[in-house]
């Protein structure tokens, strides 16, 4: 291909007294060059794929000021799991939506652990809802709903972890909601109780 014809054939003949110069091969060993080329290719291949950040798409519920209270509260308490995110990556949760101010919900504490963390709680809840669906207590359209309520002490990573749990556990309906004062009180009460122990 890129080799040059070095045979010298076809050129004019030199006289008998003229010494022939030693023929040097014009071939260059291209192996190191190829090596270098592939090394750089590898480098660029890795950098291109790694510099592409991944994103998580998030859809907030449509907020309309005109919506009346009756239209809003359509969620059944039996499908709902309320998760409160608090400081030091602590996660509080209770069943239901906590709409009854007289009865304090049974607040439990957990975290983003691989074992016995919030994931197991969600899986259990999903199983329970499935069971209720089969028994006919819930309609086929009812889905496990997780209400995420981060408080002022929680961090962004808590929120992302929680949203991630939603996609990990295939929870289709979830919402990020402002925490209520009542729930803040619950967290404080639970913290005080655990501190006293």
């Amino acid at each position: 291909m890129a080799e040059m014809d070095t045979s010298g054939g076809g050129g004019h003949k030199k006289g008998p007294g003229v010494k022939k110069g030693k023929k040097l091969s014009t071939r260059i060993d291209l192996t190191p060059m190829v090596d270098l080329g592939f090394l750089l290719i590898t480098f660029f291949m890795f950098t291109t794929t790694l510099s592409k950040p991944k994103t998580m798409e998030i859809n907030m519920p449509y907020k309309d000021e005109k919506l009346t209270e009756e239209e809003k509260n359509k969620l059944k308490a039996s499908v709902a799991l309320t998760v409160l995110l608090s400081k030091d990556h602590r996660v509080y949760y209770y069943e239901g939506i906590g709409d009854n101010p007289e009865v304090a919900p049974d607040l439990k504490i957990t975290g983003f652990k691989a074992k016995d963390g919030i994931r197991d709680v969600i899986i259990k809840k999903k199983k329970m809802v499935d069971g209720l669906k089969r028994s006919g207590a819930l309609g086929p359209k009812d889905e496990t709903t997780v209400l995420i309520k981060p408080d002022v002490n929680s961090t962004y990573s808590d929120l992302v972890n929680m949203l991630d749990e939603m996609s990990i556990n295939d929870v289709k309906v979830y919402a990020i909601i402002d925490i209520s004062d009542v729930e803040k009180g619950f967290i404080q009460a639970t913290e005080a109780a655990s501190a006293g122990q």
Binding site: M1, M33, V160, D164
Partner: protein, 220 residues
């Protein structure tokens, strides 16, 4: 017995073709690589299992660092120019053409409106220096508040480019109230769909998402 004479073949292989291919690929990758744009602050994003890649263009990036400072940027120089012109007229900042051009070629911005003029007069090195100590773009829960400068940026950016996809790149340590303010600002402009930039992490085994992914892989 006479030995069969095999013609001696050279062990040299012509590397030229291989070299050609290697450099062709190299050129391709060099041209296709996009280097990361300069970032004003170091942000350690949390991880998620989401593997949806960030689109290449029409991005509005809101960077939030661990202290909750907000930095704003959009891609595309022409769009940046249009944006600053829009902001300039709406907030009557009296920016000169040179200052606006400076914005168009600049990086992320975390400066209040009243400091913007002096900031854009500086060289890019000085800007980066100030960016490290800047207070970030002020934000509020209501879009109608005059102090909510982020709302102005978002509104103007969407006026200049309605296709903008809004991405929030926040540090995992950033406190939730800061994020909350951004989200309510976006909600105030009726933006309910946006992206959070996260790191990739593996899907834990035995979960619903893991099984889903595997069943899809098997079906294929």
């Amino acid at each position: 017995m006479p030995k069969a004479k095999l013609p001696r073949k050279s062990t040299h292989i012509d590397m030229t073709a291989m070299c050609d291919v290697a450099f062709l690929l190299l050129t391709f990758f060099m041209l296709a690589t996009k280097f990361k744009p300069e970032e004003p602050v170091v942000v350690k994003t949390p991880s998620s299992i989401s593997d949806f890649p960030l689109p290449d263009e029409n991005i509005m990036l809101l960077t939030v660092d661990a202290k909750g400072r907000i930095f704003f940027s959009i891609d595309n120089k022409l769009k940046r120019k249009a944006l600053i012109e829009n902001v300039n007229s709406e907030r009557s900042l009296n920016l000169t053409d040179a200052e606006m051009n400076n914005f168009a070629i600049g990086a992320s911005l975390g400066i209040q409106f009243n400091q913007l003029k002096s900031y854009l007069n500086l060289s890019s090195d000085k800007q980066a220096e100030i960016g490290k100590t800047a207070s970030g773009i002020p934000v509020d829960t209501s879009v109608l508040s005059v102090n909510n400068e982020l709302a102005q940026w978002v509104k103007s950016a969407r006026n200049t480019n309605p296709l903008l996809r809004i991405c929030i790149k926040a540090d995992g340590e950033a406190a939730y109230p800061h994020i909350k303010k951004i989200i309510s600002t976006l909600e105030g402009w009726k933006i309910f769909k946006f992206n959070l930039i996260t790191n990739m992490r593996a899907i834990p085994e035995g979960t619903a998402a893991y099984e889903q992914k595997n069943s899809v892989a098997k079906a294929e």
